[in-house]
Symmetry: C2
Subunit: 357 residues, 2 copies
């Protein structure tokens, strides 16, 4: 209810709306704690109501205790139902978090001009960007599970093993420790494919001397984590060692700038400077990081174009990389909580290039 009250504060008191409709699945989980609602209507005056289809009705009644639960029956049209409820709550100026173009038109039609409709997704992001204690507890656990998975990656990678076999061991270990699933498709990209930041995970057999980029995340109670390490199967070459150290230093320099009031683009710049000064600027082909939470990619973004400023409670990734087509790629990534003094790493350790097999 605290989160809903905070949203009401921004949307109603500050922005002058008298109703908020939430349709995005993740926003619904954030505000209701329940994953099966079709939407949530928050009126300025009246009961907060979640709308559910029959398939989730019993679960909503059991788990959505702070809300009025409205069943959308077979054949009933949700926009019409919402429109009727808005009339009852005397909503004249409705904010919606997100709608497709077709959805907007359908809904506007159902309202027959009786209320104004405005997309205001940013208002929910303002809240979601700053994690509360309950969220941080879950994200800390997600980070621990992810670090656990990375240890298994380090133990499993060797010449002769296939990429997906490494993924199997990582995911199994995270699951056995209680994670809810993977935060995104596990990346185990070896050899020349390691130079593709989104290189996926194939049935390629890892060879001696290969770079292997492992990018993984555990989900815990809907919250995600994100961590990357780069390993070499066997003894690394001098060139591999040299580039790895540049990326490692870039990550460390950026980490030192992760503080409240820091400009996101300056955190990016701290890492980018190290890489550029070493002559690899053109090979750092993405922003330094992104917010993490219920989704794996959230605001604030850490990139040269970002207009964000960090505040306490932001959780962001710090993931510089160097990718050389035909040679291979390097990325080191942690999920970091912005705190008053230094950032808290939710994923940590294993800054090791070599797997000694």
């Amino acid at each position: 209810m605290k989160r809903i009250n905070a949203l009401k504060q921004i949307a109603f008191e500050k922005k002058g709306f008298d109703g908020f409709l939430v349709t995005n699945e993740t926003n619904l989980i954030y505000l209701t704690g329940f994953p099966g609602a079709a939407c949530l209507l928050i009126p300025k005056k009246g009961e907060n109501t979640i709308y559910v289809y029959g398939v989730n009705y019993e679960q909503a009644k059991a788990e959505g205790k702070d809300f009025k639960v409205e069943l959308v029956k077979r054949g009933e049209k949700l926009p019409e139902k919402l429109s009727a409820q808005m009339k009852e709550c005397k909503i004249k100026k409705l904010a919606v978090d997100t709608l497709s173009y077709d959805g907007y038109r359908l809904f506007a039609k159902a309202m027959r001009g009786k209320a104004k409709l405005k997309i205001q997704g940013k208002l929910v992001w303002e809240l979601r960007k700053v994690k509360d204690e309950k969220e941080l507890e879950l994200m800390r656990k997600a980070g621990e599970l992810t670090t656990q998975g990375m240890k298994v990656a380090h133990e499993t990678i060797r010449a002769g093993v296939k990429e997906y076999e490494v993924a199997a061991e990582i995911e199994y270990a995270m699951r056995k420790c209680g994670c809810w699933g993977t935060a995104f498709d596990t990346i185990v990209a070896s050899g020349v494919r390691s130079a593709f930041p989104h290189g996926g995970c194939t049935d390629r057999e890892i060879r001696k001397g290969d770079l292997v980029v492992v990018d993984i995340g555990a989900t815990y109670h809907f919250y995600r984590s994100d961590m990357t390490r780069t390993f070499v199967a066997g003894a690394p070459s001098e060139k591999q060692k040299k580039i790895y150290e540049i990326v490692r230093l870039a990550q460390e320099k950026a980490y030192q700038t992760i503080k409240p009031k820091a400009k996101a683009k300056e955190v990016d710049a701290a890492a980018r400077k190290v890489i550029t000064d070493a002559g690899y600027g053109e090979y750092f082909v993405h922003g330094l990081g992104h917010g993490v939470g219920l989704e794996v990619h959230e605001p604030p973004g850490l990139s040269p174009e970002s207009k964000d400023k960090l505040v306490v409670g932001n959780v962001v990734t710090n993931e510089p990389g160097i990718y050389i087509a035909g040679f291979g790629g390097f990325r080191i990534e942690d999920t970091v909580l912005v705190q008053k003094r230094k950032g808290e790493k939710f994923t940590d350790g294993l800054y090791i290039l070599e797997v000694a097999r």
Copy 2:
């Protein structure tokens, strides 16, 4: 290219558009085979072009061989870039698969009224609904992997094991056999939670006599599968056996109707009749099934409201269920290919209520 040509045929020859913009991630995979494009512009006259950000540029060049690959540089605006290319290709009437309301407005602004813009997502669905041989091969494999996972569920479930431990074993087995990941969050819902069709997977310990609904899917080369079985940990009660048999019969009756030209709502009705005649109609709280492919929920829908007719090449789930709040739930589901004669089950076997432990 066959798929793009088919889309051109519908959109340009039949519908009179002279350009198609694809923005949906799954549609992009379907049409390009490559997962990292921001969008794809198909002009009636001119080169098919995929637009990618720097992070995926090298991979796009390596994997998107049939396309012109256009890099969206830092600071460049995609709508402006697209608009310029549309001008070059003399596109006057553009179809787009999907846009958010805000995205639509942004894009329309960039075009400055120089071309008409219309959302035409259904045209891509017309193609995606009917799987080609290459797709069926991958879906067959995804189905095999899923059935493999279900065998492990059957071997693992017993009193004293936690739901997530069962999920760990299932997912590990599927991964070791080469699957790419899970098609959706694995459901292992036991006890009273089995009555929630989307009951998830918790750290609840399974008890003797519990119903356990296991709903799983493997992904293989982007293609998904979907399968549910219901087990009892230990000896089932007479009531459990009785209801299971009703669901089993409902599934069998529906399966017999899965044929080309069958109305989707009549396939649903075949299962619903069995359940209703047995007195459990109100407990079958969802439609009978849905299409499966690159996504786990696709058209055609099998429900009382569906207006679809089945054709050869549709792949649908057949998943009747009975859910009794406070008692437990039953669902049996297979992924089935519509063929000339009888449907081919991509998932099969294990119609067993009891796990003898």
